[in-house]
């Protein structure tokens, strides 16, 4: 199953995709966020500009009305007006300012100066006409536009209200109180009133359009909506009654801020439940608040569209990148997979498999080329190895044959002289390698004389075996040359021959003995060999012999013959140093003494049994350590002349 863990291509593709996605996400997210922040900052600036410019225009209009009211009030206060003059003044003032709905003077009833009748001359505009409407019975002293400026003692713009003449006409009144008298005598004499239609003042704000659904609205000093896209609110609701109806305490807080004359740019959920930004500022001269609402969605619409486009591009890019990365990593891993498959086939032994074609000089190409040369070298190596193996096998086979030849060379038939009951002979030669350098030999020289010997060639293996063959042949030939062989002479003669062409410095130790089977006289000579053991009456002891020089070194070496007499029952035991120098795993030698003891213990046994006992003892002693040298034993038991 293809999992990211076991496919480089997949891991690589996944990592690249995830990383690119992450990077893009962070970048786009940051870009979007920053765009919004920048937009909001710009929006605040634009909002402030829009609101302030609208306020300035309104203030200009209001200021001119203010100015006119104050001028009229001043001229009225200082001047002496007759009835007709006053009416003229008022009519002309109304005429000169199309924005004004009505103009009048309300004289204080308690005025000491005889007032002009009627007590409140008033002109108002109806279409193109200027209507004179004095109401003699009109008690205006408790009207807000009279009472408030009177009590406050200063010019006052009233809270907008419905005209008493026509309730569909919405007005706001600029009242300028005219006082007369000084100090304690100061009293209200008249109130200059200028009625302004709300429509003329709110027209500007009502026409504010921002983006698609943005708008402006105006609040009165009491927070009453004076203009708003939802016309149901105008003059009916205040921002506080809306806050109560919609259960939005934050709206009430904003309303209070507005009425305090503060100016802010804040987030706001509007009456259509849209998220918006709202900028509000006071219109100080009249105590109104102008607010402009900017719908967030439209504000950010462009940013949203742009971001979505960027996201789409990014996604397309990531998809394309994923494919490209996947394709390239497949280009890397496909040859690797092929090489893997080829490897397993080669490991199985199929050397003639074709490698994938080398494409390009990149790492993969070089790998393929290295792989190819490795396979060539491997082929050659295996070819050489096979040849070597074949040669080795051949040598092994020949060595086996040589072992066979060698072992068949030594007398192996036991008992060798069944018709000579006075003699019992048993011998064995175990080579350390396939072929050994030790040998023994025995043969009847004549009817009464038995010649037997044991020899040890220096070294082991094929050279020793070849030398051994030469030595054995020489010894036997030398012995049979003489009618009355003497061991020392045999050794001397053989030594002379061996020492002549001895370039390889091979030498051989020999112990040669000739036994007179009727008398039991044993003549022997030693050429550097181990002293033999004599077992007599269940006791074994080493026979003291002269050491003598090994054969093959000095051409004119001398040898001495020695004699002893065997008694019936004696066992004469010859051996090579392969026994005494057998080691155990600790490196300790078997030794002469141990051999002597083993011989004593096996003294009563038959020769073959004895031979096996010694060999077993050596094996036991060795405890599994490999045989270091050839082990050769020859034992002769002299039984003596028997009664026929």
């Amino acid at each position: 199953m293809i999992r990211p863990g076991n496919s480089i291509a997949l891991t690589f593709t996944l990592v690249v995709s995830i990383c690119t996605t992450l990077i893009f996400s962070i970048a786009i997210g940051y870009f979007y966020y920053q765009s919004r922040v920048m937009l909001e900052r710009e929006l605040e600036q634009n909002a402030a500009n829009l609101v302030q410019s609208s306020i300035n225009r309104l203030e200009t209009t209001l200021h001119s009305i203010d100015q006119m009211s104050e001028d009229l009030a001043l001229s009225l206060a200082t001047g002496q007006y007759s009835q007709s003059n006053l009416l003229d003044l008022l009519r002309k003032a109304l005429h000169s300012k199309p924005g004004i709905h009505g103009i009048g003077v309300a004289f204080a009833p308690e005025s000491s100066v005889p007032p002009i009748t009627p007590q409140m001359p008033y002109f108002f505009r109806q279409g193109r006409q200027l209507i004179y409407e004095p109401d003699a019975n009109f008690d205006y002293t408790n009207r807000d536009w009279y009472q408030i400026p009177k009590e406050l003692g200063k010019k006052h713009w009233s809270e907008p209200y419905r005209s008493e003449i026509n309730y569909t006409t919405l007005l706001t009144t600029c009242s300028v109180p005219i006082f007369k008298g000084e100090g304690a005598d100061r009293h209200i004499w008249a109130m200059m009133v200028v009625d302004v239609s709300l429509e003329s003042l709110t027209r500007l704000v009502a026409s504010i359009r921002v983006l698609e659904s943005g708008y402006g609205f105006l609040l009165s000093p009491n927070g009453t909506y004076l203009t708003h896209p939802d016309r149901q609110l105008i003059m009916h609701e205040t921002i506080f009654s809306r806050a109560e109806s919609r259960n939005k305490p934050e709206l009430r807080v904003m309303g209070r801020n507005m009425l305090r004359g503060e100016s802010h740019f804040v987030e706001h959920i509007n009456y259509r439940n849209h998220r918006t930004w709202i900028y509000y500022a006071p219109i100080r001269s009249i105590g109104w608040t102008l607010a402009v609402v900017f719908p967030e969605e439209e504000l950010y619409a462009d940013v949203h569209t742009l971001t979505l486009s960027v996201i789409a591009i990014a996604l397309a890019g990531i998809a394309f990148l994923t494919f490209a990365v996947h394709a390239i990593s497949r280009r890397i891993t496909a040859p690797l997979i092929e090489l893997t498959q080829v490897s397993s086939k080669i490991a199985a032994g199929n050397f003639s498999i074709e490698l994938p074609a080398v494409r390009g000089h990149d790492e993969v190409g070089r790998l393929t080329m290295a792989f190819a040369s490795m396979i060539c070298d491997l082929k050659a190596y295996i070819r050489d190895l096979t040849e070597t193996m074949i040669a080795k096998e051949r040598i092994q086979t020949e060595l086996k044959m040589a072992t066979h030849i060698q072992s068949s060379l030594l007398p192996r038939l036991f008992p060798p002289f069944p018709d000579r009951p006075e003699l019992d002979i048993y011998a064995s030669m175990d080579p350390a390698k396939e072929v050994g350098g030790d040998f023994y030999d025995f043969f009847l020289v004549d009817e009464q004389h038995l010649c037997f010997l044991v020899a040890d060639v220096a070294d082991k293996g094929v050279p020793a075996a070849l030398y051994m063959m030469v030595a054995k042949t020489l010894l036997k030939a030398e012995c049979q040359r003489w009618a009355m062989p003497e061991p020392d002479r045999i050794l001397t003669e053989v030594n002379a021959i061996l020492a002549v062409d001895n370039d390889n410095c091979m030498f051989i130790t020999v112990f040669c003995a000739i036994l007179n089977t009727s008398s039991g006289e044993l003549c022997f000579a030693n050429a550097g060999h181990n002293p033999p053991l004599l077992v007599r009456n269940a006791q074994a002891r080493h026979v003291p012999v002269q050491a003598g020089l090994v054969l093959g070194v000095l051409p004119d070496a001398d040898y001495t013959v020695e004699r002893l007499w065997l008694e019936p029952g004696d066992v004469f035991f010859l051996y090579t140093d392969g026994i005494t120098e057998a080691v155990n795993p600790l490196g300790e030698l078997y030794g002469e003494e141990r051999l002597r003891l083993a011989m004593e213990q096996a003294a009563h046994q038959g020769l073959e049994e004895m031979n096996h006992s010694i060999r077993n003892d050596i094996v036991l002693y060795a405890e599994g350590a490999p045989q270091a040298d050839d082990i050769t034993m020859i034992a002769i038991r002299y039984k003596g002349q028997q009664a026929p």
């Binding site: 809270e159 205040t238 009654s241």
Partner: protein, 353 residues
């Protein structure tokens, strides 16, 4: 009229039936004529029934204490939901207000059969024509003096020398009694039912009805915890307000009619309290149509306050009852302050003996 038309219809029908032997075109034309002739008959027949109904209903005009608002929701809902109609009454509701005649005047001038008056005003009408108390709607006083808390006024005594707005007319009477009873040496400023003088600082304290101007002040941006309020109720001037009145002569003429009106009106009030949202929506609609400023939140407030104000005065009483204790307390206070000359009798006032 019906007796004349029907035979005519029958004659026409016969004519049409006979006219079936004529050609198609002519019969079609005749058919059209028949329809044109019959249609007014059918219409008249339909309306005739209604005429009969309205003709049997009795006209009643109710003069309200002020302009249409939830303070009079019961009467409007009784009309709107056909409760008056069920009692066989055809009621017109006449809004009061400064521009109009006082309710008392309207009764006296036979401009209305019924009027909403405050109890003190009614008690002051000692002479002729005799007023008859039909039902006491508002059981307790809703009036108060309200001012900004920043003025460091803790008790009534601290009102000395302050500019206090007082209403003129019958609405201002309890305020005047209150000021006189507690001997508060304030600077009274004549005030209309507008809160702007107070909001702009023209007066330090304003006369308000808790169900009306108080909420208007809150809806103009002042928080309740910025205001200090002295209610007349908790300072011993708990004068009941709205009640239904008629002239004694009206009741004498047609007691059933008067009873029907009272019952229907009370039923209308019960409906209004049981269906507050519907009532508030209706009142806002009616007010805006009459050219008045109306907001849902203000009418909601007022209706709820009316419900509390109109709770029966003592256990066992029902809506509309005037408790003798309240009556005597009001009368005593008026007598004490010299607004009436003698102690009126409860039973003759309420039952009209």
């Amino acid at each position: 009229m019906l007796l004349i038309r029907w035979p005519l219809a029958l004659v026409l029908a016969e004519y049409l039936a006979g006219g079936a032997v004529f050609t198609l075109r002519r019969s079609l034309g005749k058919g059209l004529c028949a329809v044109l002739l019959l249609l007014p008959l059918l219409v008249e027949f339909a309306f005739a029934g209604e005429e009969q109904e309205t003709a049997s209903r009795k006209n009643a005009r109710l003069m309200l204490g002020w302009q249409p608002q939830s303070q009079f929701a019961g009467y409007y809902m009784a009309k709107e939901k056909g409760i008056y109609a069920r009692y066989n009454l055809e009621v017109s509701l006449i809004g009061g207000g400064e521009a109009n005649a006082s309710p008392l005047q309207a009764l006296q001038d036979a401009e209305a059969e019924f009027a909403v008056l405050w109890l003190p005003a009614a008690l002051r009408q000692e002479g002729a024509p005799r007023l008859l108390h039909l039902a006491q709607l508002v059981q307790r006083s809703s009036l108060a003096l309200v001012g900004r808390k920043t003025l460091d006024i803790a008790t009534l005594a601290d009102l000395r020398g302050r500019k206090v707005g007082v209403w003129s007319g019958e609405a201002g009477l309890p305020i005047r009694i209150f000021l006189e009873k507690h001997q508060l040496q304030v600077r009274p400023v004549p005030q209309r039912h507008s809160i702007n003088l107070f909001l702009r600082g023209g007066v330090e304290f304003a006369s308000i009805a808790y169900h009306n101007e108080y909420h208007s002040i809150l809806m103009s941006g002042l928080d309740a915890d910025e205001l200090q309020i002295f209610t007349l109720r908790e300072h011993g001037v708990n004068l009941p307000e709205d009640g239904l009145y008629t002239l004694a002569s009206t009741r004498q003429r047609d007691p059933a009619f008067v009873q029907a009106f009272v019952s229907a009106s009370l039923e209308g009030w019960q409906y209004a309290f049981d269906h507050p949202e519907e009532t508030v929506d209706t009142m806002v609609r009616i007010m805006r149509k009459a050219g008045l400023s109306a907001s849902l939140s203000h009418q909601r407030w007022q209706l709820e306050q009316m419900r509390q104000l109109m709770q029966p005065g003592r256990p066992g009483a029902v809506m509309g009852d005037l408790c003798p204790e309240a009556f005597h307390a009001t009368a005593s206070l008026l007598l004490e302050q010299g607004y009436i000359s003698s102690m009126p009798d409860y039973h003759s006032f309420v039952k009209g003996q």
